[in-house]
Amino acid sequence: MDARVRVGENLNQALHGLLGDDPGVYVLGEDLLDPYGGAFKITRGLSTRFPDRVLTTPLSEGAIVGAASGLALAGEKAIVEMMFGDFAGLAFDQIVNFAAKSVSMYGRRVPMPLVIRCPSGGNRGYGPTHSQNLQKHFIGVPGLSLFEMSPFHDNRAVLDRMLALEEPCLLFEDKVLYTRRMYEVDELFSWDLVEDVAVVRFDGDLDYALIAPGGVAHRAIAAMRTLLLSHDLAGALLVPSRLYPFDPAAVLPLLGQVGLVCVAEDGSAGGTWGSHLAADLHTRLWGSLRRPIRLVSSADSVIPTAAHLERDVVLQDSTICRAVLEALDG
């Protein structure tokens, strides 16, 4: 594992490797061709090496996902790059009412190896239509899995896993994460994988546990640092790669020991992955939980463009910190 590589480079290398190893894999999206290589440069170099299978498309998100589904239906494998995850809205019907349903609605299973990559999240000043994480709108769709890119999960392994499911998968990619390093954590903590879940923790008794998708990992770790150094509170962070469906069995022992479980996520508050997960964990951990599971997310708001306004709306490390302190106080 090369610890210096950036998360975006790791993803780029994963796509190179995948296209190189499997002649059935296609990549479709807007502005993918070199030298541009995609709006976030994740597809850089791919079109030069694999010109027949890396296709730049018109601005046609619905048809891009539809065409990718057609490739999958015909026995190929397709990876779609949404330029911004926000535009998955234009492909909602193809994702929810065709790709996901077609796996099972014809009576017998129709394999549909399809990945839709969604660069998501704010803190970049891109404004209300280019900064969201639309995750919550895709939770609970039969036949649709949700994954999130993380600094602890090798993207090649994640892509292989998604394609092997033979069901459509959304991969949420926090845009800020692209430039962070893989496998790097604050020296106060160590990390390990417990099955699918990366566990970043203080070595000792734990006061609380955070659960967060990969895009929130750095904000969560920064909050853990402050909580440890300024408030003497020791925590662990759990980062699953697959968010939905998510089987928490492997981490239940850890969650059952701590004084507080808090789910932190990037999307706007209300009807979120965290609320779904909390409902599940309340049932499974009833009897060992010491307090209600705490949710913390971005505000129930559009994401403003101006940096100072955006900071107040989008989840920050300070928001996580306050949520933990408030919950442990209460």
Binding site: E30, D31, L33, P35, Y36, A39, T56, T57, P58, L59, S60, E61, G62, A63, D86, F87, G89, L90, R124, G125, Y126, G127, P128, T129, H130, E265, A269, G270, G271, T272, G274, S275, L295, V296, S297, S298, A299, D300, S301, V302, P304, T305, A306, A307, H308, L309, D312, V313, T319, R322, A323, E326
Partner: protein
């Protein structure tokens, strides 16, 4: 090129200086986020300005600073919006590509605006006959299916919809040949919608040509006006991957050559005006805004 009235050239150069200033501010790290300048395309909204009325609606897109300035001549409010300062048109929430003021609206998702403008045109037809809805879109935006759904309805219902296409031959990094089969004229023809292509860079000529056509729109005949134009700058900032020898005609270079004195005088004035505005706006306090949020679980008020 025909000599322009000082007023027109001053507005054109205001837009150009404004856009240049934005790129300079970005380079100095004084702007955050993203922006799309209309360098080279300034003459499109300025040509249309006297053909549109206050009661008309204008729908703009990501490359909309020129559209906004040609409508309102409000560089202070726009810059404050882009810089997140007090006096911002939309309190710093919308930013460069989400503006709303009176009957002017822009959105950052391609293809969204055409169906919305169709609804507005339906309203105008019944409630304010003679009014129209003008929508600016780029060539790349013709990839979106919603564009065709809207054109079909507009023609079926004979709506006063004016579609202004700024065909600059590129969408972000993708040349038109790689993203459009056929032509815009052919697509309009498929719906039986009038189409006209404007290749001139001469504002007086353009106005003469378009004035009677825009009148037919007011009577309920949708129209597609396709400007053959050129994006001089990057898509947003620092992201121009076109080879340096790609042709980029600049209306201003042509005009300047023929009218050097007027150009020099008004360009100096426009630059000075924008410099002063930038300084004044930068010194303003940050824009204030509070989300009108409910309080579902998970939200920690700041």
């Amino acid at each position: 090129m025909n000599r322009l009235a000082d007023e027109d050239l001053a507005l054109l150069l205001l837009i150009r200086s404004f856009e240049r200033k934005l790129l300079a501010l970005f380079e100095r790290g004084e702007l955050n986020g993203t922006t799309h300048t209309c360098l080279g395309q300034e003459y499109v909204p300025v040509s249309l300005r006297p053909l549109l009325r206050d009661g008309d609606w204008v729908f703009s897109n990501h490359r909309g600073h020129g559209h906004y300035l040609a409508r309102f001549e409000d560089p202070e409010g726009l810059l404050a919006e882009i810089m997140g300062r007090k006096g911002a048109v939309c309190d710093g929430v919308g930013g460069s590509q989400h503006l709303h003021r009176d009957r002017y609206l822009s959105t950052g998702v391609q293809g969204q605006s055409l169906p919305v403008a169709t609804g507005v045109a339906l309203h105008l037809k019944r409630r304010e006959p003679g009014g129209l809805a003008c929508v600016y879109i780029g060539d790349g935006t013709w990839g979106e299916g919603a564009v065709y759904e809207a054109l079909n309805m507009a023609q079926l219902w004979r709506l006063p919809l004016l579609v202004v296409v700024e065909h600059n031959g590129i969408a972000q990094s993708t040349p038109t040949e790689l993203q459009m089969a056929g032509t815009i004229a052919g697509r309009a023809a498929a719906f039986g919608i009038e189409h006209t292509r404007v290749t001139s860079l001469d504002i007086s000529e353009i106005r003469r040509h378009l004035a009677p056509l825009v009148e037919t729109v007011r009577g309920g005949a949708p129209l597609v006006v396709e400007f053959a134009t050129h994006r001089l700058g990057p898509h947003s900032k620092g992201d121009d991957t076109r080879p340096p020898d790609v042709v980029r005609s600049d209306w201003y270079a042509a005009y300047q050559a023929e009218h050097p004195d007027q150009s020099a005088r008004l360009e100096a004035a426009a630059r000075a005006r924008v410099d002063a505005i930038a300084e004044e706006v930068a010194a303003r306090p940050p824009a204030a805004w509070t989300p009108a949020a409910g309080s579902p679980a998970g939200w920690m008020p700041a």
